[in-house]
């Protein structure tokens, strides 16, 4: 199963980015092989439509869950129709490593 996590930086000690559409990086984590990759978000500085464009980026990777701080209005219905689960983390101090550890528990 693949999970996307929004990240503020390019390593595992970075915090979860509280925004989805304009986050700095996406981490794509594969739970079976325990591998991960960082993808720079091309929509970081987009004027509008960053949310749907970012959904496109992660949906192409075939993720089934997305962890972020908040999901905008445009993409909630989109993710619902794609059957991707949204997980909202309200603690911005959590690092990517923390989240991965939680999935591995």
């Amino acid at each position: 199963m693949k999970i996307a996590i929004t990240s503020t930086g390019k390593d595992l000690n970075s915090n979860v980015d509280p925004r989805f559409g304009r986050c700095s990086y996406f981490v794509i984590y594969e739970t079976e092989s325990k591998t991960y990759e960082f993808i720079e978000n091309p929509n970081k500085n987009a004027d509008n439509g960053a949310g749907p464009a970012s959904v496109q980026v992660v949906a192409d990777k075939g993720v089934s869950k997305i962890v972020s701080g908040e999901f905008g209005m445009k993409i909630k219905s989109l993710l619902e129709s794609l059957k991707i689960q949204m997980i909202v983390i309200k603690e911005p101090t959590k690092t990517i490593q923390d989240i991965i550890n939680m999935f591995n528990k």
Partner: protein
Amino acid sequence: MRRMMNLPLIKGFKPYGQQDGLKNSDPVILLLEEYESVKLCDYEMHNHISACEIMGVSRPTFTRIYASARQKIATALAEGRQITIEGGRVTFDKDWYLCQDCKCYFSNPELDNEIEECPLCKSKNISYLGQSKLDGKNIDTDKELCVCPLCGYSIPHLQGKPCKQEICPDCKVPLKRNNLL
């Protein structure tokens, strides 16, 4: 029923530096839908038409909610009162859950299957954020109780007095609001 995107990050605001006489004044209760209307209009800069569509209410209703929100916020500022954000008739976008252990919110992508554990920490201690939890009827203070999380001892909740200030006579632990258990 008004639609909301997310719960506010905090439960309210406290004034500071007030004169002595004001310290115990009642808080202003800002309903969740009122918070949402201000957030949509003044933070996300939607106009009233698009904001009322997002919340799923009619234009006049939205204007009423928004006017009431501003009235309350202004009251709090002018009178130096605390703002508590709670209650209201809101519903979340389809099927949202809250994990009581790791405090994350998550959606249910497959509406046919009931979710039983938190996708993050695998805790079974999750609650459904459906309409029942945040239904306007719950804000009637006479129905709110301060409950002991251990033995279930309960007393009626007094508006403005935090439940945790009440102590269970048997277990000696602070009480909690019944709709938060």
